[in-house]
Symmetry: D2
């Protein structure tokens, strides 16, 4: 039997979310985000983040990111992000499209996290002469990172302070925000609004929803007219928005989102422990969320494939593969993976 | 009890569609439109239109329209559309945004349909001097129209021939395409590919789906790389596309889509007959789909409101209201409406 | 001998302007609009308009218009303009390009001037439902008009009051502003800042300059950072801007601009008087600047051509031609025209 | 007396060019690039490059670059350029604006030249997964480089072969192309069309013209409709284009452009020799054109300033300054510089 560790994007919808969709499916509801479910979002997320927030419900993380960045960055502004960031590598230029030619500048840093010294150097390097040069405008952090690590509260706070000190806004791509909160065991506000984050792409699709993400705006100076116009002009103002918003409400109710993320993290941790103990394989990065970046040999990867374990190679690297654990990964799935990994006949 | 004739956008998801979502919700599936459901779309829609087509699954009609128009029209090209068209009046500039400043030029015509003589005049009026002027590039037809009428096969054929003769492509905004097919009792190909339409925004959300539309490309010369890039760059390449595609497959299976549209049309027809018979009220347009444009007095509209009938006023007109009938409109709903309309105590 | 009444765009550079270029051509000068000539523009134009203004020097009227409109109109905003306006018909979408998909809506009106009642109707017709619809944002007036007429002070004042009352800004395309000032015999401020105009594309190229236009910003709330960025990003921040600014300074010095415009107007008036007296030909519009729109027969136009008079047909009209008189049109040129027009052997 | 080595952008217009402007200034001429001067450009430049070319006359190097790149690169395409490139650092995003969100990716390399190994690595690093990732589309070379060096014929040939092998087009930013041709003593075709360059921004403004650049298109597959539309939509189709084209014709006549560039290069070489001989100062890069990047101490730079030598600091570096020599730099200017540099009382 095949076990799939390719991506949490490939998981089905969680039963509780499907239940919420079914429950929302009675009678008529006002169209275009004027329904009762959507109307609850601001309050529900304000409670969740113990802070007054404005929420924009959308279908994908890409559009949440693109709207956020285009709203806080002029066409002649720079968004600094990690060189592995999804906005840079996997969105085919959505931020540039929404932002009318804004620029992304990659910054390095160990463990998939932006190094503040390298950020400072990148900003200095971008310095120009007034009207001729792009303006540093925003910092985008990915939490958890593309490589499965998690910024600490202090790291985020320091980066936000640094960015704000230069007049830049801070966006967080939280496609896997839940996994970081679960990993740190902190309050969600502690690694977002209270650490200085201005806008958060709050992911849900990878962690049990169908197609639902929330752009959570913490900073009251952000132009929400612009965010709404960009959502509409990009074709993302769903007529039947109730079905997105119902997912989001169910997702955050009773900490469902954290229970699902915690489950995924634990499965990842179990496998990570086995990698640590393996004589040849090793973890490329600390495992602090639901991804394992496995450094191994060609033969090793073949062993996984032969054992019907599905995973993705890391672009440009022969010795690296990515295994992602989801809310729906079962103990049995992980056990199968571990057995195949350890060469135990399954 | 309130009865809602505001918009088919406010209807819930049809049971068969919800069932399809539940059925699709097993196990993992390849992400980003590489799943088994999406892979069936080209064949299923080629069968439906008895012609080889390419399908792009998306969440909204707005994005289907915007991708279609931006693909067939250069930034310096004109799209001609009816002065009531959704792309002109209700999409906040999505076509202009995707099309990098393309231009929409409104054309009049009775019954919400483009008049070929007025179209010819509009084209002539747009004539300029080479590089200084916009180029007529596309014609966009809405089927059924915003005012509830339906182009005949001959009308579409004539408009397509005219447009093609000038080197223009033809797009059809088929947000309510189903209602026209049901109304005409024709084959869907007869009012699209066989009449000369090059691309069709095939609507489903208004007629029982959750958030699902298909951009159906008939013309093999259309650049599908561009359509795919625009879908991705606009944040519309859902990771879990299977749930859109599963809806679309269920929607067209066994003519479900036509049964639902036919039901809506019949409800509209029943009410239209009563309007026709009414001494003061009258139909603003022939009722050839699921919309009734009701011309009545202020008192008349108040009578509807007092009877808990919900509907929308027509922008800029005091004497006009819009009632839309959906797949989920019950006989009882329509009966209630008719009674209130006729002043029968309910 | 041929006489050319095709366009004032075809005239050479006036001697005084060429002299100014030669005078400016000594030694080095700071690049990119930091030179001594450019630094004088704000003060010189503030004197000219007896009001504090900010000036952006550019090379073409198209870019002046596009920067102005893109600065005061969001991508989801409408600019209302006359159906004959250059921004609509002759700029290949520059406003839409700079404005990221803003929309131009044509408004009719006699004599090439916007009719306030039709403007009101156009605004009402554009009314929509919030986020779904474009927002009326700007009114663009052309002074003198494309058809050779001139708005009066009162007409401009009334249009500005009306636009401002609806929260719209007013732009004036003054490609032939000089001709209107000369025609009215008024102070330039009276038909611009004092009448309520917020930004003026102050033309100079058609009236004796080489390639020089000034975007004059009257309204201090206009974002001049945006205007400067758009000039730079569109490649219009010339390294050797001194040569544009030197033209502009010479152009407005000692009323040179008005003397040249007055000369052109007088030549047009002489011919207009002959048209008025002609038994078959007639003036399509009152001649209030330097253009004559001549309504005549095919034979009549052939008579002009045979007499080596150059002019342009009016697009889409067989019975209409345009003759434009420039600062460099000589008495002899006009005399030749009049003789040919009157069938006198030349 | 002050001597200015800040930038060749600050030089005046060469006498022969001004003479050409005066000569062109007789009578009327067809507007919008239909004049007799512009009509000669294709043939004149085809002769110059001993190859059939299409020329687009424009006013600035920025717009020449932006049109070129936007024409050969889709919005989801990457342009690779040196990390010092003007298109990256000094154009405020003109390529991104014209290219609707295309992306520039910087590549390092010694002496301001792109290193083919680093280019290969950058391309490999940009590799992604189909529709999610940008596509390598173009390579932009700067000749001479921002740091005053010149690519050899072999270097350009190798880079073009490499780029073409991957399906990329090659653009050359030749703002100081003349200086490289003069420096190499080669035929202009040898470092452009014959080496594989597809489009050249042929600079003239820095080397004696007022505001004149030529986009020279070598590759017949380049869409010249697009280049013309972009010129028009960006407001760069001057009505009086004859004055740009007359400059360009005079500039290339009788090798004037090369004589002027050679003169500038020789002045730079004289100073470079002195730097070489200086005990503390040194050349940061080989001097192969008209720029000297001077590595010196704070005291050294102060000595220059005190001696009334004007130059520009290098952004982000305290120990580096830029001195640019122009066609109009006199022997006396250079002598003064050398004396001040050597601490000789002047």
């Amino acid at each position: 039997m095949t076990v799939n560790f390719r991506s949490d994007n490939e998981t089905p919808v969680a039963p509780a979310i499907m239940e919420a969709l079914i429950e929302a499916n009675h009678g008529t509801a006002f169209a275009y985000a004027n329904d009762d479910w959507t109307n609850q979002l601001n309050e529900a997320f304000s409670d969740l983040f113990r802070s007054q927030v404005t929420v924009l419900s959308v279908s994908t993380g890409t559009v949440a990111n693109a709207i956020a960045l285009a709203t806080i960055t002029p066409p002649w502004g720079i968004v600094f992000c990690h060189s592995n960031a999804h906005i840079l590598r996997d969105e085919s230029g959505a931020p540039e499209f929404f932002g009318n030619g804004l620029r992304l500048v990659p910054v390095g840093g160990k463990n998939g996290k932006i190094d503040i010294t390298l950020l400072e150097a990148a900003i200095k390097d971008s310095e120009g002469h007034g009207i001729h040069s792009y303006v540093p405008s925003a910092l985008s952090l990915t939490q958890s990172t593309e490589t499965g690590t998690t910024y600490s509260i202090d790291e985020i706070t320091a980066l936000c302070e640094f960015a704000h000190g230069l007049g830049m806004k801070v966006h967080m791509d939280g496609a896997r925000f839940a996994n970081s909160v679960a990993s740190l065991g902190c309050h969600p506000a502690e690694i977002s609004v209270e650490a200085g984050v201005d806008l958060l792409s709050f992911g849900a699709s990878k962690n049990g929803c169908m197609s639902a993400e929330a752009l959570v705006i913490f900073d009251p100076s952000v132009n929400t007219e612009t965010t709404q116009r960009l959502r509409k002009r990009s074709g993302h103002l769903l007529s039947k928005m109730r079905y997105v918003s119902a997912q989001l409400l169910a997702y955050i109710e009773n900490n469902l989102w954290l229970h699902m993320a915690d489950h995924a993290n634990r499965q990842a941790a179990k496998f990570a422990a086995c990698v640590d103990a393996h004589p040849q394989a090793r973890l490329e990065f600390p495992v602090q969320a639901n991804k394992v970046l496995l450094n191994w040999s060609e033969e090793g990867f073949k062993q996984l494939e032969d054992g019907n374990v599905q995973f993705l190679p890391w672009p440009g690297r022969d010795d690296l593969a990515r295994l992602v654990f989801g809310y729906s990964t079962t103990d049995q799935d992980t056990l199968t993976l571990i057995r195949v990994f350890n060469g135990i006949n399954v």
